[in-house]
């Protein structure tokens, strides 16, 4: 199919529409305004509904409702707005309601800066709300990846009956790139998906066949069992982590980063290779489940150091890298934050230093 030039946020929205998303609610916040704006225009064209919520809290709860009614539904925001959404996300995880949401991350904490950052890593991967639930979290590095991940996210959400997060950032969200869009699901197909959820959707049922959505119960044993079922689901993802490994076989230095930092890192690795340096890259595409296996496949007898690159100070992604590397080699960091990008040149010079150890 022909490629089209699209902005990250708009491409994410179009991918969602093509995946059958027919409800979107959101609240304006930079740098993701193009997502609600795009949906507001697109939803009426495809018979879907768009609501500009009065807040992120309201928006996420609208999506919780729409998804509980059987419709593929999505919301999006950026960092401070995502914190407000944590209520609805936790409820969706508790009641096992499928929904997709996007964080176009900006620099935090607080209202922070509107420029790109990766400062929400721990929130995204460890605790996106109260109660100790887990979600699949995808971290795109290109607009194309953002499109593919968003498209797939709706299938995962339905399959797991669980929220799915696209953890993007202000670079991927606002840059324009050529993308190949996935096929548009037909109205029939979308109706079939909704129909398949009829027995578990809040649409009214004959007495005795009631749907009862429970984000909480009175019975402690019942709730423990619900926790155990959820745990089984989370554990089933362990071998479904996705990542990119690049030139790691003979590498003496391995750069690791996710999202836009990982993409810049790949470019640095290519330059350093051109200069004869033995360097490779590991870029997680899913940050939950975390691709521990990628770091197991490293030949630690050859590796002098791992260079963690991220747009967060203090380093957050580092915690997962440490857990994966298990002290088998030193880990060094190259960090920027406050909306400042990591630089390819700086990475190359750090790679050189590490390689000459």
């Amino acid at each position: 199919m022909a490629k089209v030039l699209m902005k990250g946020c708009e491409a994410i929205a179009e991918a969602a529409v093509r995946a059958g998303c027919r409800f979107f609610a959101g609240y304006p916040i930079t740098p993701q305004n193009e997502i609600p704006e795009y949906f507001s225009k697109r939803m009426p064209e495809v018979g879907g509904a768009f609501v500009q919520g009065e807040s992120e809290v309201a928006s996420v709860n609208m999506v919780y409702g729409a998804a509980a009614g059987g419709t593929r539904a999505m919301t999006s925001s950026s960092s401070p707005g995502i914190s407000l959404k944590s209520e609805g996300i936790s409820y969706a995880a508790a009641a096992r309601i499928p929904m997709v949401y996007v964080n176009v991350c900006r620099g935090g904490p607080g209202v922070g800066v509107i420029q790109p950052a990766q400062t929400d890593y721990l929130q995204a991967t460890k605790a996106s709300g109260n109660g100790g639930f887990r979600m699949r979290v995808f971290a795109p590095a290109t607009v194309q990846e953002a499109v593919n991940m968003t498209y797939k996210a709706f299938d995962y959400a339905d399959m797991d009956r669980n929220p799915v997060l696209i953890l993007s950032d202000g670079v991927v969200g606002t840059m324009m790139e050529p993308v190949e869009l996935p096929p548009m699901k037909s109205d029939d197909e979308i109706e079939r998906i909704k129909e398949s959820k009829k027995k578990i959707s809040c649409i009214g049922h004959p007495l005795g066949e009631r749907v009862w959505i429970k984000p909480g119960v009175w019975d402690t044993i019942m709730w423990e069992n619900i926790n155990k079922d959820a745990e089984k689901l989370y554990e089933s993802w362990a071998d479904q982590a996705e990542w990119e490994s690049f030139m790691t076989d003979d590498a003496e230095v391995i750069v690791t980063g996710y999202g836009i930092a990982g993409r810049i890192a790949r470019s640095a690795v290519e330059i350093a290779r051109g200069q004869g340096l033995k360097v490779g890259l590991i870029r997680p595409k899913t940050v939950y489940p975390f691709p521990y296996k990628a770091y197991e496949m490293i030949d630690y007898s050859k590796v002098k150091a791992i260079l963690d690159v991220e747009m967060s100070i203090p380093a957050l992604f580092l915690e997962d890298v440490k857990a994966a590397v298990k002290e088998r080699c030193p880990i060094s960091t190259y960090l920027r934050s406050g909306g400042n990008l990591v630089s390819r040149e700086e990475m190359v010079s750090r790679i050189k230093k590490l390689a000459s150890r």
Binding site: E54, A58, A66, V211
Partner: protein
């Protein structure tokens, strides 16, 4: 013998009420059930419960239910109704839920004119959590977080949700009712029915405020509670249809 009265089929069988003695919630559940049966919409209806004693409705009714986060019932109903416009959605919310933590969601859903039905149970106190002050608590009324009684200087004044929403253009029906005697019960049922008919006819946002007692929270006996309603609550919250267009 001729059967002249029975429980509605909308109730779970063999369920015994767990509400406090004298609580009016069981009556409200019954009235809603009768309306749903009379309009023949039970099998199309989903209840969205707020958090609080209203949340307990889910344990008694036998039709679809989803629990919303505290205060967010009208937002959850918005998402449901927008995606299933031919289905019936109503919320049941207490005063803390509807008029404090959910005030933004409540006003905004009403202002958008969402085609939903809201049953707002105003007992002037936080029942479920043990009697804390609500935005509807009367001046001078004691609460566990206003132990000398609510005073205007520190706590402001009771909020009148019918009148607040009556400032908006979109809502089609706003009524304040009670369940303290058979006559008011009748009026409450009529108002609930009207609020559902509006939704069936796609007319927009309807809200029925039901002024009730919370005997446990108020620390009163059932009869004292009825007197308190008449003497204190109704003067502050006058019963009647506030808007019907």
């Amino acid at each position: 013998m001729e059967l002249v009265y029975t429980r509605t089929k909308t109730l779970q069988e063999d369920k015994v009420s767990g509400f406090c003695p004298g609580c009016m919630h069981s009556t409200i559940i019954k009235l809603i059930g009768e309306v749903l049966e009379e309009l023949d919409i039970v099998e199309k209806t989903t209840l969205i419960t707020g958090i609080g004693c209203c949340g307990l409705h889910m344990d008694y009714v036998d039709y679809d239910e989803i629990t919303a986060p505290h205060g967010r019932a009208t937002a959850v109903a918005t998402g449901l109704k927008r995606t299933n416009p031919d289905r019936i959605y109503y919320t049941i919310q207490g005063d803390g839920d509807f008029a404090a933590i959910g005030l933004g969601e409540s006003i905004s859903a009403a202002n958008r004119g969402e085609n939903i039905t809201v049953i707002f149970v105003n007992n002037a106190i936080y029942g479920m959590t043990g009697g804390q002050m609500a935005p509807t608590t009367l001046l001078g009324m004691k609460a566990t977080t206003a132990q000398n009684g609510r005073n205007a200087k520190e706590h402001g004044y009771p909020i009148h949700m019918c009148e607040v929403l009556n400032q908006l253009t979109a809502p089609v029906f706003l009524a304040r009712c009670s369940c303290n005697n058979p006559q008011n019960l009748r009026k409450t049922k009529d108002a609930i029915k009207k609020a559902f008919i509006n939704q069936i006819e796609g007319r927009g946002f309807s809200m029925v405020e039901i002024v009730t007692s919370c005997l446990t929270g108020w620390g009163l006996s059932p009869l004292e509670g009825l007197d308190y309603l008449e003497e204190k609550m109704f003067p502050e919250y006058p019963l009647g249809i506030v808007r019907d267009i």
